[in-house]
Amino acid sequence: MCPAERSASGPGNRVALRARLVNMLSMSKGKTYFSEMTSDTGVRDPYQSYDAWFAQQDNARLAKKSEEAEVFFRSTGITFNVYGDEDAEERLIPFDLVPRIISGREWDKLSKGIDQRVRAINAFLHDIYNRQEILRAGVIPVDLIAQNDAFLPQMIDFSPPGDVYTHIVGTDIVRTGEDEFFVLEDNARTPSGVSYMLENRETMLQMFPELFSKIKVQRVSDYPKNLRKSLEASAPKNCEGRPFVVVLTPGIHNSAYYEHSFLADQMGVELVEGHDLRVVDGHIAMRTTRGYRKIDVIYRRVDDDFLDPLTFNPDSMLGVPGIMDVYRAGNITITNAPGTGVSDDKAIYSYMPEIVEFYTGEKALLKNVETYRCSEADSLKYVLDNLADLVVKEVHGSGGYGMLVGPTASKKEIAEFAEKLKAKPSNYIAQPTLSLSTVPIFTEAGLAPRHVDLRPFALVSPNGVEITPGGLTRVALKEGSLVVNSSQGGGTKDTWVLKE
């Protein structure tokens, strides 16, 4: 799975970028990492009960369980296709049976921060496509929007129902200390991975039912029900009766197809492709065995550019011609709204604390990873002085290329990069290296610490924000590695939020 879904378009370079970046940084010596299970004084509170249970387990039995889980995942077809290669083998994301445990208090804090952030992001998107007050106020430079590829003029002067743009958000969070949580990415476009959150829990419940009677873990299984409710609540204002919801997938060869069919199945709605849909009597309708049937809400997992060949990429075979016209006429809700990718931009990310404050009037509860905008003289000076310790990225770059990873770069590379930076400072941002926390995984030799991140999922509708207590924990399976990405040997864990 990928941190940001790549349904039909480009190669998701940012993913590779981050993977490489984190990997290289892990080689820097002498770092200490926050361990979520243990501290100097013993086992941390959230893990006490689990630790007690684990101490009584037989390693051979657990190893067998672990194998059973893999067989189960495979025969259920919980796989992802390697993108761009239809014939490539479908791959399985390794599942580790040790849960990542978060206390109710920690979660409380996190979820408040996420809630605040997604509300701000929606207000920001509405503003950007309407009055643009944040630009008028000079909080964000106009260029960041004007030069932003994800900005869709076709969304100007239009408000979706309830002014909700990003209905499903997957906020990537890393932890570096007891109270240190940072947002790494906002993923307001089309976050994927929620099926793993649900399947991982289901697998744990089947393997270790006794654990869940001992330890009170908050449920995640309501997610599909809540997702459907949230989508229905976002239906067009003129919709009569219970809104008809569908999931739009690019098709069975998409890397996240399993998730698309899983969510449709779990919500009890139809899974459609572009060629199932057309405009009928002013609405988008799907071709059934008995004729066309009107649709009110479309949870699309097709990228903006491919959504409507009549408005965007005319060569797209994945989209629905005329859907943007029907959308602007107010006869369908598209979730997430087109153009939400504006807020996923790296440069916009660096302004997120200002964005949160501008729209909520509050200080941001969740921290950003410190980001130096080289367009600012002081920052530029700092970055130039500390290139060897920093990661420098192109602001609008298509990732991977044109970045500098200071700790692993040669003196020559650093010197050359400094020249590029000085020539066009506004094109770059820089970030310090990150020390991801660790959680143990199960190995044949017992528990061993590995680095993790976390992607909780938030649902936004005109009725409010709902955050599922849990999320997708990705774990770097290789010792010492900071690469949690599944395409680079990362795995997943069940994420427990304790009731308190």
Partner: protein
Amino acid sequence: MKLQIHHRTQYDYDAPVGYALQKVRLRPQRSIMQEVVDWELRVDGGQVEASYQDHYGNHVDLVSAEIGVRQLVITAKGTVKTHDAAGVLGRVYGRAPLWHFVQPTPLTVADDKIKALSGIIRESDTVLNGMHALSSAVLRAVPYEVGQTQATTSAVEAVAIGKGVCQDHANIFIAAARAAAIPARYVSGYLMMDDRVDQDASHAWAEVHLEGLGWVGFDVSNGVSPDERYVRIATGRDAGDDAPISGFRMGASDESLVVSLQVQQ
């Protein structure tokens, strides 16, 4: 001046049509330059599926062809009362910000030749005079000639070809204006040519946003600013943005297109 417009677009399909959509921008809007006395969009062989204001404030109708027809006719007709405002539309703004009209689009990228044309703006005493000078310069560089360019020809390509029609003139003018950081946009509409009732085609010109004046129109092809012979229909960032009709059709059948336009007093 009271103008009668009758704009008929006829699609003939060589096989019964399976599924076809047309996005239609053919409804004039009220402004200080024009009042819409009456207006009607008629669709024969199809229906209007949805109507809305687009991101530039244009009225859009999404039209579908009836399944199985071999002919779709879209007729826009009505009466518009026009006023001569010396081309000045004024300080009327939609939600699309001015900076948006400074950004180049694929059809309005400025190459060195267009930037050179753009230089004339700075050399003039006022920006307004500069724009008039630019208009003349574009027409000199690319004299009017039909048949040399197509709907998808960009400003850069038209300059290279050295011949063009109103659409190319507008695209080049817009590209040059933006190269000088002046917001510019494309306007599609009608022009009543005094000597005839049956007009060749829809017309197009450009508008730029000038400090103090607001939006001002320039018809490069005719070397004037729009007067009471002009009817404004739609605006966009280039010729692709506000095409009067753009379509999608499924299936392998071929279509042929006949457009007739009458503008008269």
